[in-house]
Amino acid sequence: MLSYLADFAHLWSPLRLFHYITVRAVGAAATALCIGFVIGPWLIGRFRALKFGHGYIDERTGALGATYFDKKHTPTMGGLIIFLSLFGSAVLWAEPNVWTVVALFVYTALTVPGWRDDYLKVVHKNKDGIKSWEKIAWQSFATVAALGLLLWHPQSAAKIRELWVPFFKGAVIAHMPWWLLLVLIYLWIVGFSNAINLTDGLDGLATGCTITVALVFGIMAYAAGNSVIAQYLLISYVPGTGELTVVCAALIGACMAFLWFNSHPAEVFMGDTGSLALGGLIGVMAFMIHQPFTLVIVGGVFVLEALSVIFQVGWFKWTKRRTGTGARLFLMAPIHHHFQKLGWPETKVVLRFWILSLGFALAGLATLKLR
């Protein structure tokens, strides 16, 4: 909302800087980073107290509270650090329009079930968390409400119905029927929510990969919202989506702050609070900037993680039906655990997956020019 300050540039000319998306994106990243660093240690202390109670005595050291790092003693719900940092920063720096409102709405609507799931698991010791129908109901509500807003608002009503595919110079479908759009957005939101949830198994893995995806989508949103660049690259021009660059920058800053605490050995996990919402946010942003299929390339690590689970379960069931004994494709799924079973240290798996993620990000960026 600081963009409104640019309206007073005639009173003090430096205020015109708030008009520029690039300036506000840098501000958003820095603000999210600062918020994360400030609230991070405080929230981690709260989560630790929530998980173990205040009189918790470390079994190994005898000191009050966990003074060493152990996955069993690592609190979860760290997604709340990302949520507060991203939200606070995005609301401050992004210009309110239908695209930013929908992005933040979906992010919030999916943080709630994720947080509730973690809360039930941690505080109520309910190992199943929220019921699957409740999670589906929240995801459906977020998708339907987001699509309703996009179809209702004049700025987005026509644009959201276009379907763009990488390597094509124009829209493959110029006017998608609403039901097809609903199915696709639902698949993307739910699919990427679950994919990030599966990826979030090693310290820093999901967060690091989310940063690269946010970086690429920040660039793509800027290109989609700029008529000159969009025309040059032959991509879809979607007025107003440049503001999603600011949201992506806030996401990068928030994830960087969270990664500070989530890096191995992790002091906190993001839990479902973070993973469900981040997947939904990335999924819906991909649709709004007309790059849904590019997300499959850019978020290649998330896709591989999800596919490894699907193939592992599918192959096990198939072979069990055929031979009576279930066979496994991987030593363990999701695939990052397969490499751990092969003897790779956790940090090596994470760093190599980050390298993969960077490769996928560059491949995704290359699709902008290959048309």
Partner: protein, 45 residues
Amino acid sequence: MLELPVENQTPAAPESRPFFGPGTLIAVGVWVCVFVTFAVLGLRS
């Protein structure tokens, strides 16, 4: 009275503090107001 050595003392039973204190509720209220303002401004633009 014989005092137990420190290592034999039983740690106090963990007590949990409710997560939803007044501060949390105020924070959620402020957040709702901010988001509603942002949404109204965004959807009217």
